[in-house]
Symmetry: C2
Subunit: 464 residues, 2 copies
Amino acid sequence: MSLPSHVVRSFVDACGKGSVLSDPGECWTYGFDNSRQHACPDLVVLPQDSEQIQACVRLCRQFHVPLTTRGRGTNTTGAAVPLRSGIVLSTERMARILEMDAANRSMRVEPGVLNSAVQEQASEYGLFWPPDPGSADYCTVGGNLACNAAGPRALKYGTCRENTLEVLAVTGTGNMIRTGSATTKGVVGLDLTRLLIGSEGILAVITEARLKLSAAAERTDTIRASYIDTQSAIDAVVCILAQSALPCALEFIDEGSLNLIRTQEAIALDSDAKAMLIIEVDGLMQTVDANVAAVLKAAKNPGCVDLLNASEPRHREELWQARKVLSQALRGFAPSKINEDVVVPVSRLPTLLQELELLAQKFSIPIFNFGHAGNGNIHVNLLYDESDSQQAKSARHCLNEVFDLVLKLDGSLSGEHGVGISKRNWVDRELGPEVLGLMHQIKQQFDPDNILNPDKVLPDLTAS
Amino acid sequence: MSLPSHVVRSFVDACGKGSVLSDPGECWTYGFDNSRQHACPDLVVLPQDSEQIQACVRLCRQFHVPLTTRGRGTNTTGAAVPLRSGIVLSTERMARILEMDAANRSMRVEPGVLNSAVQEQASEYGLFWPPDPGSADYCTVGGNLACNAAGPRALKYGTCRENTLEVLAVTGTGNMIRTGSATTKGVVGLDLTRLLIGSEGILAVITEARLKLSAAAERTDTIRASYIDTQSAIDAVVCILAQSALPCALEFIDEGSLNLIRTQEAIALDSDAKAMLIIEVDGLMQTVDANVAAVLKAAKNPGCVDLLNASEPRHREELWQARKVLSQALRGFAPSKINEDVVVPVSRLPTLLQELELLAQKFSIPIFNFGHAGNGNIHVNLLYDESDSQQAKSARHCLNEVFDLVLKLDGSLSGEHGVGISKRNWVDRELGPEVLGLMHQIKQQFDPDNILNPDKVLPDLTAS
């Protein structure tokens, strides 16, 4: 389906000729995201300010054309894929830092600015913005906010929801709204800021945000701890979280992943190690030693077989080497990968990992697990060959049981990736019909004509 | 207006005879809150579990009777006053801690549990719940959540919104919903947890919550810093926040308040001191010294005339003595007090305080200011005699200009007290009509018959 010429002309009038792409070849590349799903948009618009975004939303509403907002497409769930074609609104030409307010530890930005550009600017003032997804170098703040992106640092410093003061956005009605305030506290009216953050573009298009920055630590040390089994590693996690030197990262690698690392490169891993923690501890120059000592004390239990720590950048990198090699190794292991990011209460991690092992055996699908243990947020990687239809089917059945398992353990289907298309059909297992009903009503009032990222996040309501 | 006997009987049937108070004398005491406003409810119900709450909400809906939920009435804005009479639902008999989950640093509680009871239970495991309103000894967690309560510690540890994992609530439709999850991260669906927190009982009645606990610091030191003027004090605040040893409290006292303290008791204050900071720094036993040194270095500027710090409880109390004496002194200064809690970006505090001084002169209303400087959240106290009608009128006019001033400085009308009745008529100066429209629609969908705490928080929509 292509758009009638008068519709295309309206977008050209709104944004300027050079800001509208209609060539199918050009449009094609805006139809992917990192989920590898694809749908080709009819038109790509590249607005340059809030008013152009507002004009685009109003046109979409007027012509009943779906609109999918896109940062750099690093999303892993299809949230940026224009399922029903229509317009892709790319924020790539809105990448300015509008105001750096060091005294108030805040930065006002356009949605298309890269996470790394924010960090670079903030670092000039000894500040940083906590959300640190793995894709920080090439993902946008707008995308981060849409998905409530996080990363290892969330353990100590929070996610986007804890680190955003104010949002400007255009709702599906075409209205421009400002939520939150320039202050770090505020309780006037309902919290629409957090409602927009993590809503994956189904309620509004974010046109500007005021980010809450934090003072950067003076120094960060790295600890690598290896354990004879998962239970010992998670016991250590619980002990580390029970004392007050809260690490800024507390990452886990499971036995299968360690074995994979061993096959790849000559990294010195203790032969008894069947679970590993990589921990980052930050603070002042003079306090990190004491913080590290407190964490080491908590990390050391009878199942701990290896405990290393490092301050020097080169030595810290060596400790992270296992984790880095793992990503390369996984890429080589199987052509296809389902990378989930389920989350359970921390103390349930041993049960989760034990049962995942049983599922791997049951479906003959290798599963490798690692991730943010401090938040109970584990990246569950199902590796298979998509071209082998039997295996692909098994992988999907296995995934289905992974989700059931997570919910049985009081967990959630996603800790940081979100729902998009990929997990939409499972959402009603986690959320009750009343809650889903309320979410649908909120969607309906923000976007009465359902033009913003339709068929994402919320499953259709079944008659009941 | 009293309720028909069959209506009263229905509540008795739902909750039991001993859980319904209909005697006007008994009802009377449930009509106040700490705003000193009053309206007598027709009936007080004291439910004992979630199901009884649900039954009460359903009855209110069935009989079109307003319902106002009440913790211990420590609210300062009238949010707990049953403006339109009807039912007051007191959570006083739902004060159980349902589950202490130390391994996952969480606690599941009923809404009527006191904040201090939560702290006491948590402290047995070396944990605490960050929200620390001044009324912690006699305010409920349900009330804390309804108002998104905070306190000095919010600077480092956040408010209720950052420290609540999961909420069970009954909406105005009588549906029981569960929002959030037992995990510390989660991005499945829209963030209804934060939407309920701070909604002051207009969307739903919270029946249970899972609180996010943090590990308690091993040690806390206190610093008292005095300055020759406000600008120097706030310059110090900005410098303190720019380095990474974030204090767990960063309180401010203005010149007028210091003068009041001087008239009251023989507290040794430097005669040049015209602004004061009281700072708390926490950490491990071995790290607090370094953290204190970093904060002292940031606090010391050319305008600093006195800088004391203390580790011993007795000496720390001495440093806090100025603040404690102030509260007593204010009570004696004038019979009536408007205690606001406006918030501005930290760097705007000197302008705010300067202009407040001009307003005090203009209206001949003494204004004393102190509060949470680290968040820019200042308690502005207008002191006057309510029985002097001219002065009372001046105070209200003055307050009006205080709010205009705050908004001019990019601030917000309330940092932690909320809106209730008291600030309802000013909300539309801060929030635009589109935002208010969305909030009204959300209220409408959670509570279509407008039975939950009607006429609070959101101003009526004017025809436009």
